[in-house]
Symmetry: C2
Subunit: 315 residues, 2 copies
Amino acid sequence: MELLCSDIEAAHQRIKPYIHRTPIMTSRLLNQQIGCELFFKCENFQKAGAFKARGAFHAVYSLSDEEASRGVVTHSSGNHAAALALAARTRGIPAYIVMPENSSPTKQRAVRAYGGNIILCGPTQDDRETTAERVLRETAAVLIHPYNDMRIIAGQATCAKELLEDIADIDMILAPVSGGGLLSGTALAVSAMCSPAQVIGCEPEEADDAFRSYRDGVLYPAVTPPRTICDGLRTSLGTLTFPIIRTHVAAIHTVSEQATIHAMRTVWEVMKILIEPSCAVSLAVLLEGKLDVHGKRVGIILSGGNVDLDTLPWQ
Amino acid sequence: MELLCSDIEAAHQRIKPYIHRTPIMTSRLLNQQIGCELFFKCENFQKAGAFKARGAFHAVYSLSDEEASRGVVTHSSGNHAAALALAARTRGIPAYIVMPENSSPTKQRAVRAYGGNIILCGPTQDDRETTAERVLRETAAVLIHPYNDMRIIAGQATCAKELLEDIADIDMILAPVSGGGLLSGTALAVSAMCSPAQVIGCEPEEADDAFRSYRDGVLYPAVTPPRTICDGLRTSLGTLTFPIIRTHVAAIHTVSEQATIHAMRTVWEVMKILIEPSCAVSLAVLLEGKLDVHGKRVGIILSGGNVDLDTLPWQ
């Protein structure tokens, strides 16, 4: 599965009225520490606090009026849920959001604040999908899968498109991987735009299914029960995202929980911006020295900033 | 005491190689909530994490080579200390920093990281000044007072200058007040640039000496022992800053600790940026409805982002 430059451009034009072109931040201190030039694409400043707004707005505004009128359904641990609720409210249609009971209260509140109808389910992938199917039958709404959907992937691809447009000569782009919507979109954008940048996936050791799937060529299910604090990185790759990632991604690296927490805290302290744990795995890969980036120009997609401020992971 | 436009321009030119022109952020959500247009001048992204870098670099680079060679001394609860240490290191001269024993460990670490020599003292204004005088005698270095110094005030004035250059038709600028360097610099910049903007000082109720000094025309000492969590707002106005503020500032408003903590958390959650408690008083004044800003264009100087992440005030 590929995306043409024109597909990504069309997705970008469709969502531009609704999303932020997020800033790209730099840190001299982190550049010195790691020995490369880092360009942080700040999707924590995106609408609804995560890159997910890109895919959600693209999917919702891709629907015909007839489809849209029946509303949208999804299952998500949080950020896609909030983004889809916001996109649906913006188009004036209902959103039915299946969320695991253990998803963060902050993210549940965000979905409610955007007018989404929450249906709680158990913590496993199966629980989510079964419940979503029931809701689909009951509402006749359109399923917008959080990542295994080319409309979503094309939307997420616009993030790397902006990064490549704004920063010349990027050698490498790091992004977290869970279901693979962001990572496959990033890889397809790099490919479509003929950039020589390598795309690297980053994942918690405690939820390393994408790493193993990529290595073995087998689509493994998610690690259950989830053992990582990265609440956005607990799902497995999909049938669409897996082959894209296998073809277009240069490597997937994993990092410990401790390294992720340290990287998250480092971004807060040094850059004065909030990023969520799921977002910190990419910098953790670099701080742990798992990748040779010496002298390179490295893009890091800071995927989201939705944090529960009552339970910070270093406390 | 006045500053001409040319004085502020000269200060700006002098420090431009060393400081960031900080971004100005907006929040549709906060605009809706408060009923005005807010422009947040993000000095939390400034070098050393606070606007203090402006005054410190200006003062350090105003010294003759002979003066500079003897080094600089100051007393500060933290942000001026770190900024002066950084400016001194940048110029290659020693910095002797008198800090109260109760200043935050994070801020002490920052001063050390920038190569400053810390001399600890008691928590009162007297303790600071006595210790600074002793260090001055011992080192023959130049005193750079944290606020009661026209070089510092002219440096801090460049912050409002950038805000007025970047955003047209500002009706009002809010800034926290402690010693008054930022507030008097802001007021002098507005006056020098012939802007009609009103300048408003914001202060914790628990450290309301500037509010009372402004009201009564009497320069009151700081509230001791300090009762506010705003560790940057515990000192009193100075003999230079007080008359400038009395002449050029439209009002000073005070807010409760609770309102400040709520405002700080709101900025973290909504804007995804770290601001320190001292920085939150201005938004707190607006969230508490203490000022009629309906339909106005309001600049808020987010003064700093140096927070001790182990002791957050809402926990």
